[in-house]
């Protein structure tokens, strides 16, 4: 009898410890990035592109990487939305009676979600070589789109799944076509969920390094056209960290702090919008 109690207490202790460990891990990550990075972060870092001798510790900043990352991830997010939104609507409106097919499609999407980004990157690189395309903003955008598309569709899908059947039937009975129902009822009903899905995809797009390593190249300039290479923040961190010069390494830490701040802002925004969505949801 007593042993039972002791066992429960031991495990309860272990459970609390595990939860604490997870919290501690997040604190440790944020603390170590910020304590090391914020020190070398200054206005010049985020407002200038690398100047001559930058990679030996001279003047300049990482504006090229910040802008490059924003271009890449925004472009990819827009593209993923344009392709993903119709698919998510298609699954939930046109295929709503064919549950088996929908389940298979969801399985495929979930599996695509699990494909490592390096595989997308390597595949993209091969295709680019095949067609003789050089590393460019466009190639990076396409690969990141492929990477975030499953995320986008599945998050949208989860949102549309919650739309009550009655709403759709009401819309049909008023004579609207399926696409009108899709955009004027479903999308409007789900705007907050849509924003969350977009933010989720955006965060993933900004942070991914392995896929753009091969495809978008790296440059000290801010790209002005789609066929130019583009620098990205994760790669700026990765490359500068590989340098033996301490100043350059410190800049890598500063760049890491910038990226962390961007990701934190996106996470918090997504959370705020998500909470709002919980309040506005119409229950079936």
């Amino acid at each position: 009898m007593k042993l039972r109690k002791v066992e429960e207490h031991v495990f309860l202790f272990l459970m609390r410890l595990s939860a604490l460990l997870i919290g501690f891990a997040l604190l440790a990550i944020i603390w170590s990035i910020f304590s090391k990075g914020l020190g070398s972060l200054n206005w010049q870092m985020i407002s200038e592109v690398p100047k001559g001798g930058y990679y030996f510790g001279k003047e300049g900043g990482i504006l090229n990487a910040i802008i490059g990352s924003l271009y890449l991830s925004l472009g990819a997010t827009v593209l993923a939305l344009v392709i993903g939104l119709p698919i998510a609507l298609f699954i939930n409106i046109h295929l709503s009676k064919r549950r088996r097919l929908v389940n298979v499609v969801r399985l495929i999407l979930d599996i695509l979600w699990g494909v490592p980004s390096i595989v997308y990157g390597a595949f993209g690189f091969t295709v680019m070589i095949f067609f003789g395309v050089k590393t460019s903003l466009m190639a990076g955008i396409i690969v990141i789109t492929a990477l975030i598309l499953p995320i986008m569709i599945r998050s949208l899908d989860e949102v549309f799944k919650e739309v009550p059947m009655g709403l759709k039937e009401a819309s049909y009975s008023l004579g609207s076509t399926k696409s009108e129902t899709a955009y004027k009822v479903y999308v409007r009903q789900c705007v907050p969920g849509l924003v969350t899905a977009v933010l989720l995809s955006l965060g993933r797009g900004i942070g991914d390094a392995a896929s753009v390593l091969f495809t978008s190249g790296y440059t000290d300039n801010i790209p002005t056209a789609l066929d130019q290479p583009a620098a990205t923040l994760p790669l700026a961190i990765f490359f500068q960290l590989g340098s033996p010069i301490p100043e350059v390494q410190n800049r890598a830490y500063a760049a890491a702090a910038v990226l962390t701040i961007i990701i934190l802002v996106i996470s918090i925004l997504a959370r705020i919008v998500g909470n709002k969505y919980q309040k506005n949801k119409i229950k079936a």
């Binding site: 390096i118 399926k178 390094a209 962390t260």
Partner: protein, 302 residues
């Protein structure tokens, strides 16, 4: 007149949208087979030249003389992944049970954002954290404690970083799975005089076992393909690791480190695409098995 115009344009819009929708749908269905096919086409020459078993089970990695043996990369990947799972699975299972059955409201309010933010942190940031905190810790504290000497750039560092990375991912799945255990089942166990812990041990865990297994499978496939974070802390030395303090060279790191040279050495591109293919196939197998096992729960697995 005006009304009929409007009607045509509405129908037309609907039709156009349908076309676009079918096109997008086809793209997403084709994506996975295209990946598989493309990688296979590119890596097939290596098999034809060197033979399957030679490529997979040989240690010899000398790209310049045309010798591509993947064994040490595959072993490194396995070491890092399995060690990461050993570190993270107990934490995930304990935490998920705690959050569902024991934790009070305010703990949940703190833990959910923590898990979300951990899940959103990019892998390169995990890598930087690994270099700043885990690598020195391994070389100064953990390795000497066990009587080893290491620079810290080792399998263990990679596994620790990886473990933290896959915790939010597995934890979210486990939470969703535990939520599907019927309330009635738990209540009947409690009403028969079982303690809360006994109920969890004998009823909840038993009921959720397939889900727990598949969450581990999904964690494994996620860990297996993780590139940048592991690459930054694992040391990247081509060798068969003999203990966790050795440096390793997992498959994704191989691809990421060498793509620059792959066009200048014959067959090197085939070899790297084969590495990508191996990764893809392993991830695919574990993903499909886990997803099928998990499907009857009808939950959101993200």
């Amino acid at each position: 007149m005006k009304l009929s115009d409007l009607k045509i344009s509405r129908q037309l819009r609907s039709k156009l949208h349908n076309k676009w929708m079918y096109l997008c749908f086809a793209v997403i269905l084709i994506l996975a087979p295209a990946l598989l096919f493309g990688l296979y086409i590119k890596s097939a020459p290596l098999f034809e030249q060197n033979g399957f078993s030679e490529v997979i089970f040989s240690n010899e990695w000398k790209p310049l003389s045309g010798k591509f043996g993947f064994l040490s990369f595959i072993l490194s990947s396995l070491w890092v992944t399995i060690l990461a799972l050993i570190l993270s699975v107990p934490v995930c299972i304990l935490t998920s049970i705690y959050l569902i059955y024991y934790a009070k409201g305010f703990v949940l309010k703190i833990m959910h954002p923590i898990i979300d933010i951990l899940a959103g942190i990019p892998s390169v940031i995990y890598g930087v954290w690994g270099i700043l905190m885990i690598v020195p810790m391994v070389s100064k504290d953990i390795a000497p404690f066990f009587g080893y000497e290491t620079t810290g750039f080792s399998i263990l560092s990679g596994a620790i970083v990886l473990a933290v990375m896959i915790i939010p991912f597995m934890l979210n799945i486990l939470i969703e799975i535990l939520r599907t255990v019927p309330e009635g089942l738990i209540e009947s166990s409690l009403s028969l005089g079982a303690s809360k812990w006994q109920t969890i041990k004998f009823v909840v865990v038993k009921k959720a076992l397939p889900g727990i297994v598949s969450s581990i499978g999904l964690g494994l496939s996620r860990a297996f393909g993780e590139t940048i974070a592991v690459l930054m802390v694992v040391g990247n030395v081509v060798q068969n690791p003999t203990n966790v303090f050795d440096a390793g060279y997992p498959l994704p790191a191989l691809i990421a480190n060498n793509y620059g040279e792959m066009m200048s050495i014959p067959m090197y591109d085939s070899a790297l695409m084969l590495a990508a293919l191996i990764l893809f196939v392993i991830v695919l197998i574990f993903n499909i098995l886990s997803r099928i096992l998990i499907r009857r729960y009808e939950i959101k697995v993200a």
